[in-house]
């Protein structure tokens, strides 16, 4: 995900009440199912697609955040190990 896309995702999330990854994922599944089943009006189709994009961005933001936290934790533990080695 590019920085620009990430900003977009965060913009989309900003107006959203706290929504968890699992909730966003489940709703995205439902949106895709409805889009694929057809039988919706053009206005509904566009609304669903926009919602799907927004939910996908929310999911991506969660995953990117999780990755970042892992990397931060790794970096922190490496710092601790380095300091311990120096003290030893």
């Amino acid at each position: 995900m590019t920085d620009q896309n990430q900003e977009t995702a965060q913009d989309q999330v900003a107006g959203e009440p706290e929504i968890g990854y699992e909730q966003a994922r489940d709703e995205l599944v439902e949106v895709v199912r409805r889009l694929e089943s057809g039988g919706t009006s053009l206005a509904e189709t566009m609304t669903l697609w926009e919602r799907g994009e927004k939910l996908a961005a929310i999911c991506q933001t969660w995953l990117d955040g999780a990755r970042r936290r892992i990397e931060d934790a790794r970096a922190a533990s490496e710092n601790i190990n380095d300091n311990t080695d120096r003290q030893a």
Partner: protein, 441 residues
């Protein structure tokens, strides 16, 4: 004569005289049945009654039934006998085991069917060390009945104690073993040592205040009571009731580290952890720093792998959702709508064109009709229209006069003329049909 047999010889002195009489009156002609003889001997032997003997238990087979069998041997000589007793007798005696010296109340008897001499034992009392074990067993049962050994009361040891209290003999192997083994595993470990007597009558007097002192010390997380083995008598302080109750009442977890071969001191049962030796205690009260680091690295690695795998799985799922045609190209839906719109527009245009064409034809028809009835058509046939200076149509000779200025409208233009004369009445001769371009005079 062995002591045990002396007892029987005295007890049987009267019946033996009768046996002698029986033997003297016996001959091949005057025989007795074997059953009669066995019964007579049984009768004589059982008149002996019960007698207390000291003997060593050399074999003991505990069975599921009520009757138990044991083999007793003379303390000094190689004489052994089989004895039977009820299970209750053994249970009441405490821990009776092979090799133990006991005082037993025996009653001699003869088995009628085999003629074998046996002994019925109605009471057993351990003597010497056995007596000591029996006392300890009674104490153990009493304390157990009070619930002092319930496993639910055992407190967990801290993973890494801030301080370890150690009660042991001064400069003892036990002290050295606990400290050395704990320090090898966790170099930063801190000990608070209280040296006391660990055997003899005054040991408990010193151990109790040391235990209370360490239990009250907030820097001490666990207390080890250690001694490097010894005889049953040496280990008696660690089965003392006062010490057992003090350990039970302590708030700090207590480790029993009394090295012993077979006989567990009661301290082992009340302690929160029983170590087999002081060395074992040193290993069990602190974690191994190398093991802990390895475990920590492994746990960290597994956690990271697990989380990373989960994120990868979720990312794959999200990518697959995003790559669905409906998500990749929402214009596909728009294309369908657009195609429908274009088709409708084409139909609209076609219908409009048709309508215009029809209307156009109708207008042409109407136009031709209008044109057919218009004065211009008449003019085109060579006629003219006269109008006076005011623009009023002149349709009669009476509408004009000599010298009047008139406009003559022809199909291709207008003539300005002056009336020379006015002649009422129709023309005297028929006027030929004028040709296009000719003028009316």
């Amino acid at each position: 004569m062995p002591p045990i047999l002396k007892v029987y010889a005295i007890a049987l002195s009267v019946p033996l005289a009768r046996v002698t009489d029986m033997a003297s009156s016996s001959s091949p002609e005057q025989t007795r049945s074997l059953a009669w003889v066995v019964r007579a001997v049984k009768d004589w032997v059982e008149r002996c009654g019960k007698v207390w003997v000291e003997a060593q238990v050399i074999e003991l087979n505990r069975r599921s039934g009520p009757t138990q069998f044991l083999t007793l041997r003379d303390v000094d000589e190689e004489i052994s006998v089989t004895a039977t007793c009820h299970r209750r007798v053994l249970d009441a005696a405490g821990p009776v085991e092979s090799g133990m010296t006991v005082t037993a109340l025996l009653r001699p008897t003869v088995w009628s069917r085999t003629g074998r001499l046996s002994f019925e034992c109605s009471e057993i009392r351990p003597s010497g060390e056995g007596q000591l074990l029996a006392q300890l067993e009674r104490r153990r049962r009493l304390l157990e009945a009070e619930g002092l050994f319930d496993s639910g009361l055992h407190r967990p040891l801290p993973l890494l104690p801030k301080g370890i209290g150690l009660i042991t003999g001064a400069h003892s192997d036990a002290e050295r073993d606990v400290i050395r083994n704990a320090t090898l595993r966790w170099p930063a470990v801190r000990f608070v040592v209280r040296n006391t007597l660990v055997q003899g009558a005054h040991a408990v007097e010193q151990i109790l205040p040391a235990l209370a002192d360490l239990d009250a010390d907030p820097s001490v997380d666990v207390i080890v009571i250690a001694r490097g083995g010894g005889s049953l008598e040496d280990l008696l302080p660690f089965s003392d009731e006062a010490l057992i109750r003090a350990v039970h009442a302590a708030r700090t977890p207590v480790v029993s580290a009394i090295g012993h071969e077979a006989d567990n001191p009661i301290l082992d049962l009340v302690a929160d952890l029983r170590a087999s030796t002081p060395t074992d205690a040193g290993k069990r009260i602190v974690p191994d720093v190398a093991e802990e680091l390895a475990g920590l690295h492994e746990a960290t690695s597994r956690i990271r792998q697990s989380v990373t795998a989960r994120i990868t799985t979720e990312q794959s799922w999200l990518d697959s959702m995003r790559s669905r045609p409906v998500m990749v190209d929402p214009t596909a839906t728009l294309d369908i709508a657009s195609e429908r719109l274009e088709a409708t527009l084409a139909r609209l245009r076609l219908a409009t064109d048709r309508a215009l064409e029809t209307e156009s034809r109708e207008i042409d028809h109407q136009l031709r009709s209008v044109r057919a009835m218009s004065p211009k058509a008449t003019l085109d046939r060579g006629y003219a229209v006269l109008a006076d200076a005011g623009g009023a149509s002149v349709g009669s000779v009476e509408a004009t006069r000599d010298g009047a200025r008139l406009d003559v409208y022809l199909s291709d233009g207008t003539l300005g003329v002056t009336v020379d004369s006015v002649r009422p009445g129709g023309p005297s001769t028929p006027v030929a049909t004028p040709q296009k371009g000719s003028t009316t005079s």
